[in-house]
Symmetry: D2
Subunit: 212 residues, 4 copies
């Protein structure tokens, strides 16, 4: 069975949990479209180690598709990201204490990479599953955009047969019980991401039927 890799991040900025990882591990082990198994991997929220852990996960899972998930506190919708940009500009320190400003991610890399995911059909599928969704035009300049860019740079550099991209999610309701910020429950977000994964695998070209 082929695999779809879902990554999430460890908590940061004092939060007790990160919805991106809660969603990924909720969906871990599920089968999609009868032929894909979801594999979940937690990444550190740190520039120094996140990319290497992503590469290891890719080597281990050898996935047909990758959706990296990240927390976008303050957003109200599940937002597939359109473009990864070759820049780091951290407004807070990452979990290892690093806070680079206005630095390129890859000195030899292009300004940006477009997501390889079928954004529009993911948005439609998430909405059909009952969760709010919209394409986002910026993944920020912190560890999320960094992992997004590194993923696409890796795929393009080694010409890997992987459909990859990034999807930001709002806070979980558990995180906003006492603060005035929008949140969505885990089960609804997991439902939305599952629908997005289905949209991704349905976008793959049909394999030729072998007659015998």
């Amino acid at each position: 069975m082929e695999t779809v890799l879902l990554t999430g991040f460890e908590p940061f900025q004092g939060e007790a949990l990160n919805p991106s990882w809660e969603i990924a591990r909720t969906l871990s082990g599920e089968t999609v479209a009868n032929r894909f198994r979801i594999v979940a991997k937690r990444l550190p929220t740190a520039f120094s180690t996140a990319a290497d852990e992503l590469y290891s996960a890719i080597e281990n899972a050898r996935p047909r598709a990758i959706i990296c998930l990240g927390e976008a506190g303050g957003r109200t919708q599940l937002t597939p990201e359109r473009v990864a940009v070759n820049i780091i500009d951290a407004r807070i320190p990452d979990n290892a204490g690093a806070q680079p400003q206005d630095e390129p991610i890859a000195h030899d890399g292009p300004v940006g990479y477009f997501s390889l995911l079928p954004l529009r059909s993911m948005v439609d599928a998430i909405r059909a599953a009952g969760a709010p969704a919209e394409i986002s035009d910026t993944a920020g300049t912190f560890v999320c955009n960094y992992v997004f860019y590194k993923l696409l740079h890796h795929i393009h550099t080694y010409n890997l047969p992987i459909t990859g991209g990034f999807l930001h999610v709002p806070y979980m309701t558990e995180q906003v019980l006492m603060k005035k910020a929008p949140g969505l429950p885990l089960d609804l977000m997991a439902k939305g991401v599952r629908a997005a994964v289905e949209a991704v695998v349905q976008s793959f070209p049909e394999r030729p039927t072998l007659m015998c």
Copy 2:
């Protein structure tokens, strides 16, 4: 069995549904604390008829407690309202086309009434049920505040043994699938309101046990 009356409003401002009514009818018929049955009533979003329909519902249900629910599009939390104010100032027409500006609700009434509901324990109960909650300091100046004020004016005028108040809720996710506004799913909001009703009935003084 005693009753708790939950009211909700019909949709307004072009929306296809009103979460306040969806929640009320979801909980309709449920039993709370083994001795209260929830009765739901839909009110028109119109100054001319909402209060009379509320009074009829009170006469029919003879409730021990009333929580009027209303939609507060843009809010992120379930918000028990602290105070009803003797003013109508409609920024949009109601469903009957009326749009009064800066008019008192009751010429003989006080400036405001405090909610009779146990606000703090409702907030705690809603959070414990997993939904975001906070006390709100304004119910606005549209039909919600009007019904809230009329309810309390009615209770005080006739000295009714009813614990009453108002609770605003955010949009339902169905309403915000395609717009950048916060929303919560119906089941989570219903869970939160159920917990709030339980907090209300638990706040009633114990009735003396009759020995025989």
Copy 3:
């Protein structure tokens, strides 16, 4: 010459300035409508002392009108407040370290007082002066609402011939140079408040012309 008293608050919550006081002292000494002089008074942002300082200022200035100004960080408009509510519920400590929760301001006082100011014409005047304005339906439950309520309670209790009320203002641009919150420049807000004062004094009934 008669006087109009403008009060502002000292800075709180770590801010270096409070726009309400900056505006009041900018307008201090100005003459309005040829017969009113503006007197400015700074109040402490503390429940224990704010009201007494307000009463002293009233005794000293013997004003015909009072507009208490306060900072409402996050708002985008100058907002005359409609109603003062008999409640203290402090989400942060005041400048003296006090943080009362759910306490009445005056045990013998009514639930609310409506502002005595001509709200609608103030809003019109502020807009005509080029600043955004709207009536607000809540002054919160911190020191601003406290002073607003105490002012009206004082006026009503002693039947003082004073037209009084409250007006909240946004952050000054100096406060938001580096944060994502709306702000307005001091000169524009001072212009708006001056126009509001003019609207207030123009709302006074004409004094009879004495013929001799």
Copy 4:
């Protein structure tokens, strides 16, 4: 005397004015750093004509630097844009009625171009001039990003000696007198943009002093 070209857009989406053009024409004709004259040019808010009008303005003005200004209603700060992205995705029709979705701007162009402007020193200069500022990570996917991308594509394609980029501005206060959206006065925004222009020309390498 060398020139700096400032472009602004015509009003769109029912607005009576566009702050980007109001700022540009306010600064038109001013001299900066004793050797640059500001030339202002208004661009149509339309995909079909905006780029050609920009190219003509470049040919006429032969500027050393170009800052294209655009309106970002809802933002609170002046925001130099970091990156132009090769995509059009219009959520509303432009002024010519066109509303392309998910289309590339240049079939032969790269995914993105970084601004050539000194973003960080522009932000510092705007703040020093008293206006709120921050680097923005997305110029959207409407006519603003389109013009930004086309400008940089033109500069790179023809290897023009021009330092160019984009800066988004909030609503003008005139646009928000009656709505709950942040706005800044024209004179403050013009002051901020003037400071940004100065930061741009100060970033140019010194020309060698000719001795004789």
